[in-house]
Symmetry: C2
Subunit: 327 residues, 2 copies
DNA sequence: ATGAAAGCGCTAACAT
DNA sequence: ATGTTAGCGCTTTCAT
């Protein structure tokens, strides 16, 4: 491996000059700079980031934690964060926590030392664990509310209220909410919104679950839903809604006619299903962007600068998986 | 931030002892070790990985590059690699190259300095770029064939041959192949396999595309397929096949009856579609596991050790999107 | 504009 | 078993 010193020797200058030629080019005479850069190129030299990090105390990268990288919902999130970070010369390291609570903290600890900041999407780890991390480096959480920890939450109340209102307008009197992972912030928020709205619109609510936030969770939910007698269901997320539709269809029900289904997230698959899925569009990418901006502000010491998060809203996308109640 | 030195001072020992207490605990007297570890804990000290990396010349992490993190196909791949790497005390940094050829190399260059090895899945970057990387650190590529570069390829010939054979047996005489990204190794391999098999079984082959390897690519393919007059199509991957089915249905055709569709990958969605998708199961996770093993061998200097890759096979999963040719 | 030297936090011979 | 010392490759005062 070629180092600064090699280049310096060959170019007949000091290490400092080579260093400067890379980091503050204008501070070195054009001629010298040219010679240095040329020999650097000739020697195929690239500055060692590790050494650089040690010297300046920053790594130039951030960690992004998502609960399930296989969930189509997170694809756009990851891509968006990566694209925006790049503009700030930050590399993003994405880690999948796989809903695996203990590992999540261990992994975060590791990451905490090779990153300048952390973006935690729907973290499941304990509050204590998160507070521990925030003590070590800048952290912004998405979809979690912990006193003192900078956060962006994806709103669910407006969309969920619209969902219930929509079902009420279609004549449904008894609906079900299909819980996702029981203890998560997201599930609590969505369930509370549905509960409040059903009371407001005078609907009967049955709560089913919890179900894992995956397709097979929805499959399992199908039979429970039928047994419940509800004429419509609002699922924790689209993956569950998709599995649900599948199972209902297998059971001979026509989704959108005999029974209505609403999801949450609006993943790219949602408009493509048969029938297309009515769902709440949650602005995940926007939330992630907003969170990244906050994180960078904190990392740059602009801690209290414009810390008003971008106002976000969720919104019901009406498609064909919901229809007038069957009589 | 607390350092080794702080702990050493407070515990009344030298830095080396503290260092040893962490890295080779048995080499330090139990009593001393206890005292050191206690004060380390008390001071909330965690060894700085960056400094450690610089000193030992290894980072303890590897980079995993995938073309599209949003493709459900890669979810299991990423999870598998992460799980296996963890057993070797390696952290995995996943990067999405987003089919963005230039960036891919730049990102890889960056990663090359904070990782001990690289796993490149279906890389699109130039051969020169890959060779450049292999000169810097251990690299294993998946689904690409470059002389001198360790590789694992996911077989497509057997599965594709079975696919064509299957269609021939169903009475199809004219089929279409829907190309993915034109220049990729994977597309060339799959197309060649289909071509050879159609010749062998005496079928007429129409080649359509190239299409982007996403759902909307398949949508666009639908009308072209109908115009071609073929009675069945084999798509580059499942995402294209899904979009295709969607469009064919919109055009009033009954997939599996009026026209047959075969995909490639066998993503988790494939059995869930209406009708369930006949597709070639490609052992991506197994390939990734095998590639990781090779990478670790190379990193550990066991370069030429058991370098026989695990034999892999692809296999047709027959479902309902294929059926006897309509007469 | 350039150089010399100290130091980032850790590890690894080499001593003792 | 523990301490001393010299780096790992880079940045950054402080001189010149």
């Amino acid at each position: 491996m070629t180092t600064l010193a090699d280049v310096a020797a060959k170019a007949g200058v000091s290490k400092s000059t080579v260093s400067r030629a890379f980091s503050r080019p204008e501070s070195v005479r054009a001629e010298t700079r040219g010679r240095v850069l040329a020999t650097a190129h000739e020697l195929a030299f690239t500055p060692n980031r590790i050494a650089r990090s040690l010297a300046i105390g920053r790594t130039g990268s951030i960690g992004l934690f998502v609960p399930d990288i296989a969930n189509p919902y997170f694809g756009p999130v990851i891509k968006t964060v990566q694209r925006n970070a790049r503009r700030h010369d930050l590399t993003v390291f994405t880690a999948d926590t796989d809903e695996h609570d203990e590992d999540e903290h261990a992994l975060a600890q590791t990451m905490a030392q090779q990153a300048d900041g952390l973006l935690l999407f729907s973290p499941r780890m304990s509050e204590a664990a998160i507070l521990d991390l925030t003590g070590r480096l800048p952290v912004v959480v998405i979809n979690r509310d912990i006193p003192g920890v900078p956060a962006v939450v994806i709103p669910s109340t407006d969309g969920m209220t619209q969902a219930v209102e929509h079902l009420a307008a279609l004549g449904h009197r008894h609906i079900a909410y299909l819980s996702g992972p029981a203890t998560t912030f997201s599930n609590r928020a969505r369930r509370a919104a549905v509960l409040a709205a059903t009371q407001r619109f005078g609907l009967q609510l049955t709560q089913l679950g919890p179900f894992e936030a995956v397709f097979t969770g929805g499959i399992r939910a199908g039979d429970l839903l039928i047994a419940s007698g509800a004429t419509a269901a609002i699922a924790y997320n689209d993956l569950i809604a998709l599995g649900l539709m599948q199972r209902l269809t297998e059971r001979g029900l026509r989704v959108g006619n005999d029974i209505s289904v609403i999801g949450f997230d609006d993943i790219w698959l949602a408009p493509m299903t048969q029938p297309p899925l009515t769902t709440v569009r949650a602005p995940a990418a926007a939330a992630a962007t907003s969170a990244l901006r906050m994180l960078i502000d904190i990392m740059d010491g602009r801690a209290d600068a414009d810390r008003r998060p971008t106002p976000l809203a969720s919104e019901l996308m009406v498609r064909l998986s919901t229809g007038p109640v069957a009589r």
